[in-house]
């Protein structure tokens, strides 16, 4: 456990020193804040635009932060940090879990900052607290945990670029698995069963249009992402255990 926490803290410290993330975070907050300037372009629908932009940018920041894990593991391999650490009595599973939780920690911090910022901006613009945005952010956070686990799994046997691209591809395809299922074919059913259902914790459309979603549904969606992440991390452990760190 202590080994995992050590790697987790180290990963968090490392990713925290990535300047581009701060730039992205600031850019997102500025984008949401200046959404009222689009009033003329949106025929008076700037409130909806701000909400939608906030929700979409929350996903983008979460996604970019989560993808860091694929690059971080690859960098550790390239710089022989993995060799140095794993030549000590550190288990490969602890290393991977430490990486996962380190990035999840940062995803959480980033999303909390962003959610608080967007909530404040929405309140400033609209004069009311949009607390349903917290539910949306929580569901998005669940999706980002799944992206992080996916990134860890691909990084456990691939180099950084293929791992990052595949994570993105599965993230996009995971939003369409319901459509695959509705198509009714065998491959469609197979993809529905195997691919992570990223459409499940995605309530941007509902919240953006004021459709109420109960907290139970949100919690169930997040529980699904956690369970699926557990499966992905188990697979990552198996792949990484077999990998030659040459």
């Amino acid at each position: 456990m202590n080994d995992m926490i050590t790697i987790c803290r180290n990963t968090y410290t490392r990713v925290l020193r990535t300047r581009s993330l701060y730039v992205l975070l600031a850019a997102v907050l500025i984008l949401v804040a200046v959404a009222h300037l689009y009033n003329d372009l949106t025929a008076g629908r700037q409130k909806e635009l701000m909400y939608d932009a906030g929700a979409a940018l929350l996903t983008i920041v979460g996604l970019f932060t989560a993808l860091v894990v694929t690059f971080d593991i690859a960098r550790d391999l390239r710089e022989k940090v993995v060799m140095t650490l794993l030549s000590k009595p550190l288990g490969r599973g602890h290393y991977l879990l430490g990486k996962f939780f380190g990035v999840v920690w940062l995803v959480t911090v980033n999303m909390v900052i962003l959610t608080a910022g967007i909530l404040w901006i929405l309140h400033w613009e609209q004069g009311a607290w949009r607390l349903d945005f917290v539910k949306l952010a929580f569901a998005t956070w669940g999706a980002m945990i799944m992206v992080t686990a996916l990134g860890v799994m691909f990084a456990s046997f691939l180099s950084e670029l293929p791992a990052a691209v595949l994570t993105m591809v599965v993230f996009v395809a995971g939003h369409a698995t319901e459509a695959f299922y509705r198509a009714g074919s065998l491959p469609g059913h197979f993809l529905f069963s195997v691919l992570p259902g990223f459409w499940l914790p995605d309530y941007k459309l509902e919240f953006g249009n004021g459709v109420p979603i109960s907290s139970h549904i949100i919690i169930l969606s997040v529980l699904y992402t956690l369970a699926y992440s557990g499966v992905l991390l188990s697979l990552a452990g198996i792949f990484f255990h077999k990998r030659d760190l040459a």
Binding site: N2, D3, T6, I7, N10, T13, R14, R17, E79, K80, V81, M83, T84, L85, L86, S87, K88, P89, L90, G91, K242, D244, L245, A246
Partner: protein, 339 residues
């Protein structure tokens, strides 16, 4: 089962038929046997030099011992514990070849991370980080980011992390790479100090003169196979001295016998083969007392470099790999007159 060294203590390192084959290509047709049935024993308290041309399999063997790659056959043990068990690595320090480490951390932060992974408590970490930084000559760089380190400094910080928990076995992959003459001298002193403390040092190197100077034992790998292994004293016997004299009476012969391997009459002269080259002056004195014009014939010992090239060439010829890439020096014979 624990295999023991000559003194009954468990071997620091032991392998039995350890092999690694890399398989590549879409149809798995590309096969490279990086290590072929390595059987090796290193007793505790030794400095072991692991030699071989580039691509011989030295780094592969070290990575196998540390569980960083999986063997395709054979087994290995560190202090009697299987290399597959992470406990085997508790008493081991490792320096990889051409390391770069966590470039975003400062030197002391990096050692702090290593100390935590080694399960050292806070007080131990603080003490050992200061000690190891001092030992490798980086105490004034504790707060410097590793990204700013030169290659030699990286080797030093790498050595510091390898020695942090005072391991019983230190595995070093090309530790002399990137070090200037002062750095090499300091490293050799550190490794000798480790040996003096009863620690085992196992390192690979291309700098044969340093290996000959430091090591008790060497192993030579060629194209994945161990072609020679043993104590340097046995592989490179000390130089011998023969003396020749015109006359030799019985009294002188009996005085020479205790330190002579043989005394033979050849045509018109006597040949005395000494057991120990250091007895040369004494033997010459005895011969001179008979008004002999003694002739000394010194057979120089083979250097490790010469031995290395000879073994590699022999092995290449045995296996049909053609001529070696490096010239082979023959052992030399010197002759000198003793007045």
């Amino acid at each position: 089962m624990e295999a023991n060294g000559s003194d009954g203590a468990v071997n620091a390192l032991e392998t039995e038929g350890l092999s690694k084959e890399y398989v590549g290509g879409w149809n798995k047709r590309i096969r490279l046997l990086a290590l072929d049935a390595l059987t090796l024993k290193v007793e505790q308290g030794q400095i072991f030099g692991f030699l071989g041309p580039n691509g011989a399999g030295k780094s592969t063997a070290i990575k196998l011992l540390l569980g960083l790659i999986s063997p395709t056959a054979g087994s290995g043990r560190l202090f009697g514990v299987s290399i597959h068990d992470k406990q085997a690595r508790e008493r081991v320090g490792f320096l990889p070849e051409d390391p770069s480490f966590c470039t975003y951390l400062k030197a002391d932060e990096f050692l702090e991370l290593c100390g935590k992974v080694l399960h050292m408590d806070r007080a131990q970490r603080k003490q050992r980080i200061a000690e190891t930084l001092e030992m490798v000559g980086l105490s004034n760089k504790a707060g410097t980011k590793i990204a700013e380190f030169s290659r030699g400094m990286l080797q030093r910080i790498g050595l510091a992390q390898a020695l942090l928990n005072m391991p019983s076995l230190v595995l070093l992959d090309e530790p002399l790479n990137g070090l200037d003459p002062y750095g090499r001298k300091e490293l050799k002193a550190i490794l000798q100090a480790q040996k003096a403390q009863g620690k085992t040092v196992f390192f690979s190197s291309h700098i044969l003169s340093d290996v000959q100077e430091m090591c008790d034992q060497v192993g030579i790998l060629n194209r994945g196979r161990l072609v020679a292994c043993g104590r340097l004293k046995e592989l490179l016997p000390p130089k011998t001295v023969r003396l020749q004299a015109q006359t030799l009476d019985m009294a002188s012969m009996s005085r020479l016998e205790p330190f002579s391997a043989s005394i033979t009459r050849e045509h018109s002269h006597w040949t005395i083969q000494l057991l120990d080259a250091s007895k040369k002056d004494e033997a010459c004195g005895i011969l001179r007392s008979q008004n002999n014009q003694a002739i000394e014939v010194v057979s120089a010992a083979e250097s490790l470099e010469e031995y290395f090239f000879r073994k590699i060439e022999e092995n290449n010829q045995e296996r049909g790999f053609g001529a070696p890439t490096e010239p082979v020096s023959a052992s030399t014979t010197q002759q000198a007159s003793v007045p």
